[in-house]
């Protein structure tokens, strides 16, 4: 199941713990990124087979998308509110508050909602995927799949990846709606800005491209979330302890990669 090429990663991690420090940590991180890329390639190649088992993806969409709505709603309320409070504080004495809506809108659609939603969802989904795959490995279910000539990537990873990639934009649009609503309520309650001024300001300098990029990049984040969870799940060893370790590594790596991809996409597109 696991490529023999993975052995150097384990060896590097071991020597890293012995005190080779940052340089080794960087090697380990890039080695993981390499394997995650390899897994992503294998997943994409098998993606067309999805149509033979559409029900698996729909089930995952429900788990990954609908069951995350509550979590995303709660975080989005505070993201929207916090954006208004921060902008008001930064503006005070320098910029008129008639631009408050514009700044909040830009911040929410380009960065805050996509990135924070991705981080929140990754904390729930990449860990869940790592734990599921890891415990399947520990209980020999992955070996059983191989014995029955069932490809774990096709039956386990492809549906989860498709679900993550499809549901992340939906979750982000939902998050933006909630965050806008929360920002309006916060602005009306805690600042002197009127509803009309705030809404007019929201429309000021609004470019559909910003919204599109903000939503589209979450598809990349969805891929990152699924791949890191799957990779560390496949890599887990040592039973229950290994599963715990895999979930921790999955969420850490997913968070870092989401921010890296966010920067790269911003750099390339904006």
């Amino acid at each position: 199941m696991i490529s023999p090429l993975r052995i150097p990663v384990a060896a590097l991690e071991k020597t890293g713990r012995l005190g080779f420090g940052l340089r080794n940590a960087a090697y380990v991180f890039f080695a993981h990124v390499l394997y995650i890329s390899e897994l992503a390639y294998k997943t994409v190649v098998r993606a067309p087979l999805l149509f033979k088992n559409v029900s698996l993806s729909i089930e995952q969409m429900y788990i990954i998308g609908l069951e995350s709505l509550g979590l995303v709603a709660v975080t989005s309320v505070f993201v929207g509110g916090e954006a208004v409070v921060q902008a008001t504080y930064q503006f005070s004495g320098y910029v008129t508050l008639r631009y408050l809506g514009m700044v909040v809108c830009k911040a929410l659609i380009t960065e805050l909602c996509p990135v924070i939603t991705a981080l929140v969802v990754s904390s729930r989904i990449s860990t869940a995927i790592a734990a599921e795959i890891g415990s399947m490995k520990a209980t020999e279910q992955l070996d059983a799949m191989a014995c029955l000539s069932l490809d774990p990537i096709r039956y386990l990873i492809v549906p989860k990846t498709i679900a993550c990639v499809c549901m992340m934009p939906v979750l982000v649009i939902f998050s933006e709606l909630v965050a806008f609503t929360a920002s309006i309520i916060t602005a009306l309650l805690f600042t002197d800005v009127s509803l009309t001024t705030y809404l007019l300001s929201l429309r000021m300098f609004f470019f559909p491209k910003d919204l599109f990029i903000g939503v589209a990049k979450t598809m990349v984040f969805g891929m990152v979330i699924a791949m890191t969870g799957a990779h560390f799940g496949f890599q887990s060893t040592k039973g229950a302890e290994g599963v715990g370790e895999a979930t921790t590594k999955a969420v850490m790596t997913a968070a870092v990669l989401i921010l890296v991809f966010d920067f790269v996409i911003a750099f390339l597109v904006l």
Binding site: M1, P4, M136, E140, Q141, A144, M145, C147, L148, L150
Partner: protein
């Protein structure tokens, strides 16, 4: 059949006549390292068509690793494995080389390895849906037939978490035989079960051979089970097959390691002669410290 009966050697005329002399599975010079540890060291095994071969030995001496090599879950460092005369596992084998042999192989894992997210019926139907053109009604019939064969009719809707250890093993067996394999591999099928349930599994293994003519390789350290079901027993010790023969022959073996294992004695004995055991002054670990499992032997 109770244990005493099982332990009694079966005369050749009472032994099952299912096996013939045609080699079904052949392992030659199999070698495997895990890092610096040599786990399998020149393993040779010849399994005839229709026979039940038990591989016995202490935990950690490489029994399950042999099964994983046969299934293609591990690639050997040396040697080869052939099924029906066709070599499929060598150090240069690719995953694609195992696709064809796997259609002829089935495996029952120690903990059954049922997919926890699927119910019993879906567990058994999963490979059928993916690898056959059977209709849903036909698949339902095959699932029911498989469950009936292992004595668990009507539990299709139950989840694996609702099953006892013995039931899980039997469902695992039903899943493995649903694809009608020619060779069944059993990884310690009775080790986690109570003696009565263990005996049921033994009977099932014999039944499957009788009804379907399957060749079986059973990895176990349960000697009563091995005596009951085996046509041949091979003993693995520190990665090497040190003895292979019929249950009667292995019982009569003068090899001290074989005798230590089959009698379940902590200490190694020099020799066994005339049913008398002469005890050695030291135990096995002190006698051959350089050969303890888990250590590199170069």
């Amino acid at each position: 059949m109770d244990i005493q009966d099982a332990l009694r050697p079966r005369p050749p005329d009472q032994r099952p006549a299912h096996s013939n002399n045609k080699t079904k599975l052949k392992i030659e010079h199999l070698r495997k390292h895990f890092g610096a540890v040599l786990v399998l060291d020149d393993v040779n095994l010849d399994v005839k068509s229709g026979e039940i071969m038990c591989v016995i030995g202490q935990s950690g001496h490489g029994k399950s690793v042999i099964l994983k090599h046969i299934m293609g879950l591990m690639i050997p460092d040396g040697g080869r494995i052939a099924l029906d005369g066709a070599t499929y596992s060598t150090p240069t084998s690719k995953p694609v080389d195992f696709e064809e042999p796997r259609r002829k192989l089935g495996m029952l894992f120690q903990g059954a390895a049922l997919f926890d997210s699927k119910n019993v019926g879906e567990n058994i139907a999963f490979p059928l849906r993916e690898h056959t053109d059977l209709s849903e009604n036909e698949i339902r019939d095959v699932v029911a037939e498989g469950l009936e064969m292992v004595g668990l009719q009507g539990i299709e809707e139950k989840m694996p978490s609702e099953l006892s250890g013995g039931m899980r093993s039997r469902v695992g067996l039903a899943r493995a035989i649903s694809m009608k394999p020619e060779v069944m591999l059993y990884d310690e099928p009775t080790s986690a079960l109570d003696p009565i349930m263990g005996d049921k599994i033994n009977d099932l293994i014999l039944d499957l051979r009788r009804k379907l003519g399957m060749t079986s390789i059973v990895v176990t350290h349960d000697m009563s089970s091995a005596y009951k079901i085996a046509d041949h027993i091979a003993m693995i010790y520190q990665g090497r097959i040190i003895y292979a023969g019929t249950p009667g022959e292995i019982r009569a073996s003068r090899d001290p390691y074989v005798q230590q294992f089959i009698r379940g004695q902590r200490k190694l004995h020099y020799a066994v002669e005339d049913e008398k055991v002469y005890e050695a002054p030291v135990d096995i670990n002190k006698l051959r410290p350089a050969y303890r499992p888990g250590q590199h032997r170069g």
